[in-house]
C-alpha cells in the first residue's frame, strides 16, 4: 500500500517538476540551470517541513513521495557536466554542484526548524 501511494505521488511530483522547472527555466536569462535548482530547493525545503512536523500518516507519506518525484538528482548531474567539468571544472559547474548541495541541506534545516 505504501508502495502504491509513493509511486502515484511520485509521478504527480514528476508532472509538477515538468511544469514548474520548465516555467522557471524559460524565465531565467542566464545559462545556469535555474529550473532544476528551483524545483530541487523547493522540494528539499518542503521535505524538511514534513520531517519537522513529525507526522507519519498517509497524507504526509504521500507529500514526501511527491517531493521525491518532484526533485531530481540525475538532471542536476548531467546539467553540471554540461556547464563544463572536463578537463578543468568551470566556476559555474562548481557553483551548480556544491552551491546547490549546500543550499539543499540548508533549506532542509530551514524547513525542519520552522516546524519543529
Amino acid at each position: 500500500m505504501t508502495w502504491v501511494v509513493a509511486t502515484v505521488a511520485g509521478s504527480l511530483g514528476a508532472a509538477l517538476r515538468y511544469l514548474v522547472g520548465g516555467a522557471v527555466q524559460r524565465r531565467g536569462r542566464g545559462t545556469l540551470p535555474v529550473g532544476t535548482a528551483a524545483v530541487n530547493l523547493t522540494g528539499a525545503f518542503v521535505l524538511g517541513v514534513i520531517l519537522g512536523t513529525g507526522h507519519s500518516g498517509w497524507p504526509w507519506i504521500a507529500a514526501a513521495a511527491v517531493m521525491g518525484g518532484f526533485t531530481t538528482f540525475s538532471t542536476w548531474m548531467v546539467e553540471t557536466v554540461a556547464l563544463g567539468v572536463v578537463p578543468r571544472p568551470s566556476l559555474r559547474a562548481v557553483i551548480n554542484l556544491y552551491g546547490l548541495a549546500a543550499l539543499g541541506v540548508l533549506v532542509v534545516a530551514l524547513g525542519y526548524y520552522s516546524t519543529n
Binding site: 505504501t2 509521478s11 514528476a14 517538476r17 522540494g43 521535505l47
Partner: protein, 142 residues
C-alpha cells in the same frame, strides 16, 4: 495505407494536443521511476546514522543512465516524447535531490558528520563521474 497513419519515423501522428501528450509521457515515466525508487527504498531502508547506500546507488545509477541516454539520443532520431518519458519521467523521478539533502541534514544533525559528508562527496563526485562515463559510453556505442 500504412503511410497515411504513420510519419517518416513510423510513428502515428499525435491525435492529442502536444502539451497533453508530453504530460502523459512524463507521468507514465514518473510512475516507472517512482515505483522503482520506492520499491528499492522500502526494501533496503537506511538505518539511522548509517550510510544511505540505497539513495546513493539510486542516484548514481540514474546519473549514469541519463548521461548514456542523452548521448545516444543525440545521434538517433528519438523524438521529444522519449526524452519526456525516459529522461524527465523515469530517470528524473527515480533519482531524488530532496531525500539526498534530507539524509545529509539528518546525519549532520544526529552527530554523524563524517557519514553525512561522505554521502555528499560520494554523491556529487560520483554522480558527475558516472554522468560523464555514461555519456562517453553512449558516444562510442553508436
Amino acid at each position: 495505407m500504412s503511410n497515411s497513419v504513420t510519419n517518416h519515423r513510423g510513428e502515428r501522428p499525435a491525435r492529442v494536443p502536444a502539451g497533453l501528450a508530453a504530460m502523459a509521457a512524463v507521468i507514465a515515466g514518473g510512475l516507472v521511476g517512482s515505483g522503482m525508487r520506492a520499491a528499492a527504498l522500502l526494501r533496503w531502508p537506511a538505518a539511522p546514522g548509517a550510510f544511505p547506500v540505497s539513495t546513493l546507488a539510486i542516484n548514481l545509477a540514474g546519473a549514469f543512465l541519463l548521461g548514456l541516454f542523452l548521448a545516444r539520443r543525440q545521434r538517433s532520431v528519438a523524438g521529444p516524447r522519449s526524452v519526456q518519458f525516459w529522461a524527465i519521467g523515469v530517470l528524473g523521478s527515480f533519482t531524488t535531490f530532496s531525500l539526498f539533502s534530507l539524509e545529509i541534514f539528518e546525519l549532520l544533525d544526529g552527530g554523524h558528520a563524517a557519514v553525512g559528508l561522505a554521502h555528499a562527496a560520494a554523491s556529487t563526485l560520483g554522480g558527475v563521474a558516472l554522468a560523464i562515463l555514461g555519456a562517453r559510453l553512449g558516444e562510442v556505442g553508436q
